[in-house]
Subunit: 329 residues, 2 copies
């Protein structure tokens, strides 16, 4: 796979430079580390998101009004260093503390936690909410092992909305944790992406095969099967998602149909059509549907479906204004 | 290439259904044809855009406040029928006439022109502005043969802004024509896309080759060469673009770095970084940069760079508020 890059070791720095060349009016670089913050930081809890690069527009694309204040970015599919996390948190802290929100991966947890300890010694308080939306990554009995995928977006949205309301750190963390607990996703992989540094594929899959539940770094899924129609595929995903989430008739959800890279918006719309039909058939109320490629794995083919189960508190925060170069409400 | 579709003959209808399932609050279907309009149509000139499907989020993603009022959609890479164009125009006309804006392709011209004649017989006045931004598709001496590619976005933006200001049809057409005349693009292809109906590739290219100037339906480009670094590739594109557009030091531009489908946002940012450096080196003022995949060719790999040369009138319209599910200002 041809990649439009220069030196593979420079991709992260150059990605940030290119992002800031376009959106410099709203964001600035954090000195000496791969991180950015909003320019108009407010006197409120700082929301810091991040993780490995290679999933663009995650994570930088979700900094903005009513969203994250700072973003800490690791190498491709690698956690940001403790120093990186710490520097971004320092840059956004207004004295009201920092909420870290990121996907549940061991490397990220180690480095964010170490940063949190260093920050505590400086007198900067922090809390952490992990995103564990991928229902295929572990059964409910091992919920703590579930990975974070595209559901990140909904949890970031709630965190950003709560911080913008001026809630204190404990309260922002509490409602963000609720959002995380109520966010459920499942994906299907069609084709691998390619690592920009090594040129290697993230996994292999036969020409006529797909894999349900594969992770966004190529982690093994739950079932490898033959390619099927969009409707069949969507039914399979939704059946598992509704079963795992226990979301039932009379409840209300926001939906994200997320493309993993090379799957076209045309295909995502075709899936979204079926998602809407299934939810309507089950008398589950659709509050909002978003169809986009927010959480990608390079040019990986496939998609995920995310449901956020709403109560009145989450709905208000979900609907609050938000604006970044790659997301708006 | 696996495609998440059902019956290949249903992809356009199902794409529209999936779009409306998500964005039904803002748009509605035009009865009996593959077209949509905004729900809150105003008493102003109606802007109608369209063309073949398969380029999502073009064209539906560019209907909204300060953008298009109606969108007419053909089959994959095929012009909408005269009846389709006519029906969408009827649906948006408030009595102040309709401006058609679309890329310069023979099939589209035939069908839009036929619709315009039919509309005239009904007393609905229309004007047409063709987008001819692809500088690689024909030399300046044959400007009328140049094809429209991602520059569509800038011309739609200006047309929508002008109509929103309440200008009359003649005036909206005039400033939109100016925008079209001042919009210049060039692309490079890395990998083909796949037709969702036939499963065929849009072109072939060796593993280590790229093609400058290839069109968004696989039309032949101007030079096939070996893969190169992002910086070299961007220099080659910008050299030709600045040469053809005659944009020079002291002038002001808006920039779009557009991905063609499977090229990642990471790569587009790396290109954008170099575009900004080149423009700064030449003392060309950057008014705005947008990095996104607006005009795609299924999962085709590659990108295009578009420059819109601004004067004060175009700048005001460019900066006017605009909001659609896939574009905002």
């Amino acid at each position: 796979m041809k990649k439009v890059i220069n030196n593979p070791s420079d991709v992260v720095e150059e990605t940030i430079e290119g992002f800031l060349a376009a959106y410099n009016h709203s964001f600035r670089k954090v000195e000496n580390v791969n991180g950015i913050t909003r320019r108009n930081l407010k006197d409120k809890v700082g929301v810091v998101i991040g993780g490995g690069s290679g999933h663009e527009p995650l994570f930088m694309g979700f900094a903005g009004d009513g969203l994250a204040d700072g973003v800490t970015i690791g190498n491709v599919f690698a956690a940001p260093s403790p120093n990186n996390v710490q520097s971004v948190a320092q840059a956004v802290d207004s004295g009201k503390g920092v909420l870290f929100v990121y996907g549940n991966y061991m490397g990220d947890i180690l480095n964010f936690d170490m940063a949190a300890e260093l920050l505590e010694m400086e007198g900067i308080e922090s809390r952490t909410v992990l995103v564990r939306d991928d229902v295929a990554s572990a059964p409910m009995e091992r919920y703590e092992d579930r990975r974070g995928i595209a559901g990140d977006v909904f949890v970031f949205k709630i965190a950003g909305g709560a911080a913008e309301q001026g809630l204190d750190l404990e309260s922002v963390a509490k409602v963000t944790q609720k959002a995380s607990d109520q966010t459920f996703s499942i994906g299907v992989a069609l084709n691998p992406g390619t690592m920009p540094d090594s040129g290697e594929s993230t996994f292999t899959l036969a020409d006529d095969e797909i894999e349900f539940g594969m992770g966004i770094h190529g982690e093994p899924g739950v079932e490898r099967t033959k390619m099927m129609t969009a409707d069949e595929l969507t039914e399979r995903l939704m059946e598992r998602l509704l079963d795992e989430s226990k979301i039932d008739s009379g409840e209300e959800v926001s939906v994200l149909v997320n493309g993993l890279g090379s799957t076209t918006l045309m295909e995502l719309f075709i899936v979204n059509r079926k998602v809407a039909q299934i939810l309507e058939d089950k008398s589950i109320t659709i509050h909002d549907m978003d169809v986009n490629s927010y959480c990608t794995t390079q040019e990986m083919g496939g998609l995920s479906i995310t449901l956020l189960k709403l109560d009145s508190e989450l709905k208000e925060l979900y609907d609050a204004p938000a604006n970044s170069p790659y997301y708006k409400k």
